[in-house]
Amino acid sequence: MATAAANYSGRRGVSASLRIAVLQFMADPQWLIPSMIAPVIFGLVSFELFRGYGGPYYLIYAILGAGMMSMWGQTLYGSGWATGQDRVFGTLEPTIQAPTPYLYVILGRVLWNVVSGLIGGLIVYVVVVAAAGSLPAVTDPVGFAVLFVFVMLTLAAVGVVFAAFYVYTRYAGFIQNIGEFAFYVGTGCMFPVVILPFFAWPASLFFPPTWALDALRYLAIPGYQGFGWGFWWDLVGAVATTTVYLTIAGTVFHRVERHVLEEGNLSDY
């Protein structure tokens, strides 16, 4: 009897995980709320907020604010939440027992969450543009779009690290609930970090999306000040911190897996 000894690969693991994430999404109508309905509401609220603020670029602020609001949670926590679900379903044990490292399963889910987050962002864009009756003034639309996807990837990098918590402990949801809104404000999803108190900056700078979002605003809004060190340094900061997070994820997962085998809590939920 031939065994499937050496045929598993990270690529197959990622694509299998992506496929199952899509199938689960399609099978569960409750996902319509965060991914389809919430962006419409966020878009309208954000539009009303920033319309009062006015200025030539209020539409960009409205789109970025609501777009990030609808995307960040899904991208950041979606993969971790799915791992929590694995605990509940009892599928974490057979998945960990499979030869494909669990990190690849997480990456597949992250990929889907990025895609569904982008769909949410697109919905926000359409809603805000429809509400305003005009297109936003973006100085570099192509760069903006590319950087927008990059922002999602920086969120995903943090999400992979967060997902490790869900493998580590069944109480990860508790950690998420504590950090959720602090993280949202701290990374400047809705408002630029520069309007936060100075003492909050160091913590904000530790997260890749802070840098990427600041870079995005530099690109979209002429005269934007941000941290004051400019677009390129923001980009360097975003790439550097993302690399740090991905490196952490690579090593953390190996250790987390070892830890849960020692604790024996894979089937707890």
């Binding site: 009897m1 031939a2 065994t3 499937a4 000894a5 050496a6 045929n7 598993y8 690969s9 197959r12 693991g13 694509s15 299998a16 995980s17 496929r19 199952i20 199938l23 689960q24 099978a27 569960d28 379903f89 009892g90 599928t91 044990e93 057979p94 998945t95 960990i96 027992q97 499979a98 030869p99 494909t100 399963v105 070892r258 085998l261 020692e262 024996g264 894979l266 089937s267």
Partner: protein, 327 residues
């Protein structure tokens, strides 16, 4: 094929720490395995019997790389379960069974497709292999239904299909027929038997005696985290004092009568228990010398006495061993 045993454990221990409280942490230590030494040869079904909480699932999870031992060593197919997990995982299958462990909102076939990819079933063969295992567990007709529509028995079949999908050399089955109706349980046992003919070594835990007796040429009894016996069913019968069992039933016996029975040739053990309004004496007998008639002669003055002889069952053996360990 390698000559190393399918399973070898040396002094295997596992302690679970349970923590309670937030400010004042209280840690409870539970020793689930207390020095398990076990060798299982390749190419057959090995049965592990034990009461609830004996450590069967803990041992299965350690051997299938899902749990780290606290102490000792475990080798599966000649490879260390903690140091060589990457080598082992594609070569072993695990069926934990039960209601959990599957994605309920998607179909059985999609569940198998997912795990086939994670287990590295060759891409070109994947769908054909899935169809083959579905046919083998008789689940083709429901393969495209959502798992949440499956009965307990169907879920169990799907668990087994997932366990054999990647053609493991070693399969761990943790109580595969628990909760199944008699027909499904029989089908599952038939399937398990057929796997051995494919060259798979099976490590099966159960607390159904007839199942172990029917399937397993070699059996170990685990009690309170220790292997208390390991042999063939006949070997175990001898171990507990004979393959013949005599039972005497009447409205009460005196101590001197029980002593008289103990002195009969070949009688290794006499145990008494209340049995409804009457009392039952159970004797394990090693030889053919002592007959029911001898027992009747030792128990005069009991007009209602009934004596019968039967073969010592695995359940008798199991209960003797577990009770002895409890003492």
């Amino acid at each position: 094929m390698s000559s190393s045993p399918a399973i070898e454990t040396i002094g295997l221990r596992r302690v679970f720490d349970t923590r309670k409280g937030f400010l004042f942490r209280e840690v409870t230590h539970t020793e689930a395995l207390r020095g398990v030494d076990l060798v299982v040869e390749r190419g057959s079904i090995f049965g592990l019997l034990g009461p609830n909480g004996a450590g069967k699932t803990t041992l299965t999870k350690i051997l299938s790389t899902l749990l780290a031992p606290s102490d000792g060593k475990a080798l599966v197919l000649g490879h260390d379960v903690m140091k060589e997990t990457a080598w082992l995982r594609p070569r072993i299958g695990l069926v934990l069974g039960g209601e959990r462990g599957l994605y309920n909102r998607i179909s059985g076939r999609e569940n198998l497709r997912y795990f086939a990819d994670l287990y590295g079933v060759p891409a070109a063969e994947r769908d054909r292999r899935i169809q083959a295992v579905l046919e083998r567990v008789d689940l083709v007709w429901a393969a495209d239904r959502r798992v949440e529509e499956y009965s307990r028995g169907m879920k169990q079949k799907l668990h087994i299909a997932r366990g054999i999908l990647h053609r493991p050399q070693m399969l761990f089955l943790d109580e595969p027929t628990i909760g199944l109706d008699p027909k499904s349980a029989r089908e599952t046992r038939k399937l398990v038997r057929s796997l051995v003919t494919d060259g798979v070594t099976i490590f099966l835990t159960t607390h159904y005696m007839f199942e172990a007796e029917e399937l397993c040429p070699q059996i170990a009894v685990l009690s309170k985290g220790r292997i208390v016996a390991r042999d063939t069913v006949d070997g175990l019968r001898k171990l507990v004092g004979g393959d013949r069992t005599l039972e005497a039933e009447a409205y009460g016996f005196e101590d001197r009568e029980v002593e008289a029975l103990r002195r009969l040739p070949g009688v290794s053990k006499v145990a008494s228990e209340e049995y409804g309004p009457s009392m039952r004496l159970t004797m394990r007998v090693r030889t053919l010398e002592t007959t029911p008639a001898d027992v009747t002669r030792c128990l005069p003055g009991h007009p209602e006495l009934s004596v019968r002889e039967r073969r010592t069952s695995l359940e008798d053996v199991y209960l003797d061993l577990v009770e002895e360990e409890a003492r």
